[in-house]
């Protein structure tokens, strides 16, 4: 099968995890890894695996634009704003794994179809990727008046970026719950738990639905169908209990175990971000290849 070429910007933990995931893809061909520290483990590994590596950031890639059509940006929000402009100018499709949110929010099982031709999309937050599918699954059965999510992650999987910008997490996730999940009002809470051995990412979704009767069976079916869809790209995504109903309130407990590619298995929060971005890129690639074969 023909593949679409991709590059990774950023050679940290996320970039390295992407490297492993992309190595398995049937539609994407990783060609290039771009970093700024030639001594970084990510770049060394990329070189050893035979990928083209650049060590002075995006500049060298801009001189070799044919190396990739799709670029994953796993740097920082600040750097992404700069990268986004430059990559747009040379016509690349970009997946933004930073909180920069230059492009529209995408949660693959909810709204990927609307953004198949986007030049830049943002993956919201890990909590958003884990919970917005559930909010949407409830919403498509019955209007959600209010949805609230609580993401609990192991302290070990919360990097300095997350810690320094913790408000960004709650605010961006809440926005995603409303815009993509469809809830009239959204709220997000994040808790860091330092327990050893580290806990697997957990997410709780509370939703208040409108109406005199709650379509319990239909909502549960819809949630379970959605869980399967997310599992197609995050196999460790699962319900901890069947949804619990209490009046108009639906409560859903989730657990996200990572694939353990490069990141630890407990870091389901990081894994769901890299996995979702690969999923979006694969959809883009299929779309591109379909377009080419028609024309």
């Amino acid at each position: 099968m023909e593949k679409v070429k991709v590059a990774i910007l950023g050679s940290g933990n996320i970039g390295t995890d992407l490297m492993i995931k992309l190595g398995r893809s049937e539609t994407l061909e990783l060609t290039t890894v771009i970093g700024i520290d030639p001594e970084s483990e990510g770049l060394k590994r990329a070189k050893a695996l035979g990928y083209q590596t650049f060590t002075n950031g995006i500049e060298d890639f801009l001189n070799h634009p044919d190396l990739a059509d799709i670029v994953f940006d796993a740097t920082s929000a600040k750097a992404h704003i700069r990268h986004a402009k430059k990559l747009k100018a040379i016509g690349k499709q970009v997946l933004d794994l930073t909180p920069a949110a230059v492009g529209p929010f995408v949660v693959p099982p909810v709204n990927i179809e609307e953004h198949l031709n986007a030049d830049n999309i943002n993956l919201i937050t890990c909590g958003g990727q884990a919970t917005i599918p559930i909010v949407h699954a409830i919403q498509r059965v019955q209007q959600v008046e209010y949805a609230e999510i609580v993401a609990t992650i192991s302290s070990r999987s919360a990097g300095p970026g997350t810690r320094a910008n913790i408000d960004e997490f709650t605010q961006t996730t809440a926005k995603g719950i409303e815009k993509i999940g469809g809830a009239k009002k959204g709220k997000a809470i994040i808790i860091l738990n330092p327990a050893e051995p580290p806990i697997i990412m957990r997410d709780t979704v509370y939703a208040f639905v409108e109406g005199a009767n709650v379509e319990e069976e239909e909502i549960t079916l819809s949630i379970k169908e959605m869980v399967k869809r997310v599992q197609s790209y995050v196999p460790g995504y699962r319900l901890r209990q069947d949804p619990i109903y209490d009046g108009n309130q639906v409560t859903v407990f989730l657990e996200v175990e990572g694939a353990g590619d490069y990141l630890q298995k407990y870091s389901g929060n990081l894994d769901i971000m890299t996995a979702a971005s690969v999923k979006v890129a694969e959809e883009w690639a299929k779309h591109k290849l379909a377009k080419t074969s028609i024309s």
Partner: protein, 341 residues
């Protein structure tokens, strides 16, 4: 009077007490109590949802009255007292802190789990920028040894906190454990050290006295024990005890007794006492505000609330993880059903 205080007390009933009454404070409650506390010369009065700004949620319980209205009401009736607000990064944000400051809050208490101080620098910096007195509040301090506590307290100090608190959120610390923690902080820090106790093991008063003996100068109390779990160090009693010890708080004992009796007692559905669940909180080292949630979950799933709390302690659940209560309760109910088959 201001400059004659050896220990500065923060009255937390209008925040911590929110847990005990399922976040049902009204403007009338807050106005009357804050006004009377100010007249009794209490220097700091904390007002917020029990889980801090932005805490009104399905996870923690919805507030009957918007906390911003409560903060505004409290700020409008005090003359000398400063209104304090609690903020847990991850739950509340800088937006709410700005709003509270605008409404008259003068002290920001930024709370993190005892190992996670590094989520707080932005919030502390903002509080300073807003001209607020700033406290770093290290919750669940019983979960780490003193050296770790010192490391995290130093982070709070480096972010600009004026005070750092040892917070015994689970009411689990024993007196000697309080002593070694406060002593370690006094040795290593230049800023004020504070102590916030819970009375789950009936040790809040003893622990508070030891904290003061070791040099803590900022102390939390809840009048009539109106706080999470079995409540905190009972403020009016503490003021009397400190007076007998010759330690000046500047607070009027008689007025405090009246507030406790006439204004606070009527709010409580039943008097605060150490119930079996409260005791288990302290015994298992579980966050005090889990109390009512665990009782509700126990009822829903037909199991013993103590089993839920003990299991939560085993799983090393931290403050804010209220969603674990129902999850654990469902697990226990399932395994019980299995056992019966």
């Amino acid at each position: 009077m201001e400059n004659k205080r050896d220990v500065r007390i923060t009255e937390v009933a209008l925040r911590d007490g929110s847990h005990a009454i399922a976040h049902q404070f009204t403007i009338e409650h807050v106005t009357n109590i804050a006004k009377a506390l100010d007249q009794a010369n209490v220097p700091y009065i904390e007002v917020s949802h029990g889980d801090g700004l932005g805490g009104s949620s399905l996870q923690y319980g919805l507030s009957l009255t918007n906390e911003m209205e409560l903060i505004e009401a409290a700020a409008s009736v005090v003359t000398n007292a400063k209104i304090a607000v609690l903020l847990l990064p991850g739950i509340g944000t800088m937006n709410e802190l700005k709003q509270a400051a605008k409404l008259g809050a003068k002290m920001a208490r930024v709370a993190t789990h005892v190992t996670e101080a590094d989520v707080a620098p932005q919030h502390i910096a903002l509080a300073k920028e807003l001209g607020m007195e700033t406290v770093g509040f290290l919750m669940m301090s019983h979960m780490v040894p003193p050296n770790k506590l010192v490391e995290q307290a130093k982070l709070m100090e480096s972010y600009g906190a004026d005070t750092v608190y040892v917070v015994d959120s689970a009411g689990a610390l024993l007196p000697e454990e309080v002593r070694e923690r406060i002593r370690a902080l006094k040795e290593e820090l230049t800023i004020n050290v504070g102590f916030h106790g819970h009375n789950n093991l009936s040790l809040a008063m003893a622990n508070t006295l030891i904290a003061i003996e070791e040099g803590a100068t900022r102390i939390d109390g809840s009048i009539r024990c109106l706080g999470a779990g079995a409540g905190n160090t009972q403020t009016e009693v503490l003021v009397a005890v400190l007076d007998k010890l010759g330690i000046k708080t500047g607070i009027d004992i008689y007025k405090m007794m009246d507030i406790a009796e006439d204004l606070v007692a009527p709010i409580l559905e039943k008097p605060q006492e150490i119930t079996k669940d409260g005791l288990v909180l302290g015994y298992a080292g579980v966050y005090s505000s889990f109390l009512l949630h665990a009782q509700r979950a126990a009822k829903k799933f037909g199991i013993d609330s103590r089993d839920i709390l003990l299991e939560l302690g085993k799983r090393k659940v931290v403050g804010g993880q209220e969603d674990m209560i129902v999850d654990v309760a469902a697990d226990i109910a399932k395994s019980k059903a299995h056992a019966q088959v």
